[in-house]
Symmetry: C2
Subunit: 501 residues, 2 copies
């Protein structure tokens, strides 16, 4: 028992309460709050953010942290406490160099910028969002600059916030490998995929029935409705207050069957992770997922690796056909599986197939690098965006709504976040490879029995929360650090088989 | 400009932020949160409550408050600032004598007790809720005892929290008058009302259509959807974060047309009040309604005085008939008006007619007096409850779910709250009497033009927030303090005319 750590507890608990309140406000803002609430509520959230910071960043905590980092003190700490101290040190690094009034101003700005983004996306007016994006970027640059201390690259600082294992020096070769292997594969697959008639997906699908089926799917993969709720928002997301309150959203389109279904499986993957974090860790600094990359590995494992497999749909497809007999009774399971895996260049990341998905991420990554290396102005962003889509995917967005304005993350200042999607996808492939060696995974899916899969992930990953990093997890679960070969092999194998290349 | 007041501002703003966060958690708990979230979330809310208290109750604020209460300082204050200082002094009185750890424990207990109430009401098991009710009552007694300081009656302390103008010495004669005048009237009316066939109200009413019509009604009376949202909960309520974010809930029953309609008009009345508070007052200590009594006066003015009048329904009834032609096409407007004003003893307060309504309140008031004067045990409450229903209303609840367990308020520790419902009803009648002298109110209703009504209430009451108390408002608007005669006369006139007595 560490007396020093005990002294730290009240500060940690209080800051967690403020953080949880902020999460609830964010959830509420995205799902419920009336339109005109934003400005007044932003003040409240600003104060909570301010208090969160004051509660963690102060002389008392600083002294306790310093003491706890000493070798002698470390001996008295449990593994969880050590992880919390490490996480606190990270938070200190993130926050300490930012003046509190700037941090507060930023937290007041973000929800306003988000509102502007919603409207400007709706109106297809990038110029309305641009001044707010500029403010957000300027502040993020400033913050990253403070933290870089002239030593690190500011963009690496931001990348590190989402996954400490993936800096530019890790991502650059990873992404170059993807570009060299996947762009040609996409071309071959794309040519063959063109022959797949996917028009069934864009017929009229009653939204109430979609909601009902999505709710079913969510429960089917393991979302626990006693510990979670589903709502609607412009962009699907997952938000946890703690491991007994994990919320996901979905978005439903009458003329698109797949969109809501795969979003809900994706978000359920995130939610299952958070719900399975051990009770002893929840509401601590290591009470959430290990990193954005690990989180995405779980959501994309459920969405793509499991969710787009034939085995997954074998026990389910009849149910879906029964819900929409007019649209689907002539579509065989085999046809449906080819449809949900149809690979074709498209504008919207969240609607992209597995094969082209990473190219969306790479585009965002390369533009973010340009932004943080001052190689592009805010005004030029739509142009650069469209050029890169033409270059990598062979298509040019028809407008900014489906182009640079498509995603919510920049409006919240989440830069350095997107690469996690690609890392997660690759990590998922690596975990999948080792799971297949340990269990009859495909048989379980065919039987509609997802429990052993969920239990394996819970016991080897989820329950540990953020007490390990991505590479430590991969080492422990798969006996090997991050290796992107699994990902490239997974895609090659899957599409070779599916398209009989 | 008062420098002393300026020094107070940061404390007030911070406490408001904590308070607003607590409101959001309460809203969320009632409308959204998953079932198992309660225990973990309670800790977070407990910490926020604790911080709220620490932020208001401390030596710095105490000194500033004392100074601001001096005559010399008062001269420098605006009217709003004076009202805020007065309200702060009230908050001081309420909180200062309660040890912070007890206050925190109470705030942690309340949401748990509420969950237990929900379940125990569902299961009709008072005994499951009783231990939590006991804990809540014991803590409330202790708190009221601290504050009474041996001088006041503890129940008066609690009454004062909801309306400083109504102590037992005001309420006892008011309620005696009601009992002597209304119980006989209810008997006469009840006998005649029996002949009104209201079976149409209990046919099958599609819930989606109810929601649609209730939303329409809410907007019709003046709820602004840019500043508010409607959700569902077990018991309808209103909750504001600030004047640009005011939320109401409703509850829909397939076999009851009236219930959801009049609840939504009621809650819209509360919401219109909060939405109309001046921008300069919102998010201050005087930024909400003046008192529970004033609040209820507005909700019940909209629900009953306007909402159950023939003039209100003249431009609306056809729309309702068109929505449910099978059920309503044979029911004339006159029949419908008699139906929505049918007076008959019933178990549930929220479903009660205007005439018997106050008797529900009087029963609750008399039982609360007994509780806080140690004249009844927790175990005996259902028995006492049922006896009083038999005595005043001539009926005995069939079980505890429709009896002592019907309302949520006790589970939140809201004792002393119920009399406000009766006070509000009486205040509404008094305001109605003076409004009729000032505007062609009935003509406005017939024209479907509720704007002048809303503007009158906004300009004479709502915009002032809590800068005046109930009697001050009545004096300013009607030229007379609280006078229950208006209420008795209103009921007598209305029912004499309606039932041709």
């Amino acid at each position: 028992m560490s007396k020093t750590f005990d002294k730290l507890q009240p500060y940690l608990e209080k800051s967690m309460a403020f953080q949880t309140a902020r999460s609830l406000f964010e959830w509420d803002d995205q799902t419920t709050a009336p339109f005109e609430a934003a400005d007044y509520t932003a003040k409240v959230v600003g104060i909570l953010a301010d208090e969160y910071m004051k509660c963690l960043i102060n002389d008392d905590v600083r002294k306790l942290l310093k003491k706890l980092q000493e070798d002698k003190e470390q001996e008295d700490l449990t593994d969880t406490e050590k992880a919390i101290v490490k996480e606190l040190a990270k938070t200190y690094e993130q926050l300490e160099s930012i003046p509190p009034e700037e941090y507060r101003a930023y937290n007041e700005l973000a929800p306003v910028a988000n509102r502007k983004w919603i409207k400007s996306k709706k109106d297809n007016k990038y110029e309305d969002f641009a001044p707010y994006l500029k403010k957000i970027i300027d502040m993020k640059k400033k913050f990253a600059g403070y933290r870089a201390k002239g030593v690190k690259d500011p963009y690496d600082v931001l990348l590190g916030d989402f996954d400490e294992c993936f800096m530019m020096s890790d991502l650059d070769p990873f992404f170059e490998k993807i570009k060299s292997e996947i762009i040609p594969l996409l071309k071959t697959v794309g040519a063959k995929a063109e022959t797949i008639d996917k028009s069934y997906n864009f017929l009229n699908y009653d939204i109430d029935k979609q909601k009902e089926f999505c709710k079913f799917l969510s429960g089917y993969v393991g979302f626990d409705f006693n510990k979670g709720v589903i709502a609607e928002s412009a962009h699907p997301f997952t938000m946890q207050l703690h491991n007994h309150d994990v919320r996901i959203t979905d978005r439903y389109m009458e003329d698109n069957l797949e969109s809501a279904m795969f979003s809900i499986i994706h978000e359920s993957g995130h939610a299952i992770y958070e719900m399975n974090v051990d009770d002893s860790l929840t509401q601590t600094l290591v009470g959430g997922g290990a990193s954005m990359g690990m989180h995405e590995s779980q959501s994309r494992f459920y969405e793509n690796i499991i969710g787009r497999s034939k085995e997954f749909w074998e026990p389910l497809y009849d149910k879906l056909v029964k819900l929409y007999p007019d649209n689907l009774s002539t579509i065989s399971l085999e046809h449906f599986i080819k449809g949900i895996n149809k690979a074709a260049p498209s504008f919207i990341r969240t609607e992209a197939d597995e094969l082209s998905y990473c190219l969306h991420i790479i585009i965002r990554y390369e533009i973010e690098k340009m932004i943080f290396h001052d190689e592009v102005s805010i005004e030029e962003l739509p142009k650069v965006w469209n050029q890169k889509y033409q270059e990598y995917l062979g298509i040019t967005p028809t407008d900014d709504t489906v182009g640079i304005l498509q995603d919510t993350h920049w409006s919240w200042g989440e830069f350095g976040y997107f690469p996690s999607y690609a890392v997660g996808t690759a990590v998922a492939s690596q975990i999948y490879a080792c799971m297949k060696e340990k269990m009859p995974l495909e048989e379980y899916l065919k039987e509609g029995n997802l429990i052993p899969i969920r239990e394996f992930l819970r016991d080897s990953i989820h329950k540990y929360g953020a007490t390990k990093n991505t590479n430590e997890f991969l080492q422990d679960v798969c006996g090997e650090k991050f290796n992107p070969d699994y990902y490239v092999n997974y895609l090659k194998e899957k599409y070779t088989k599916l398209y009989e290349l």
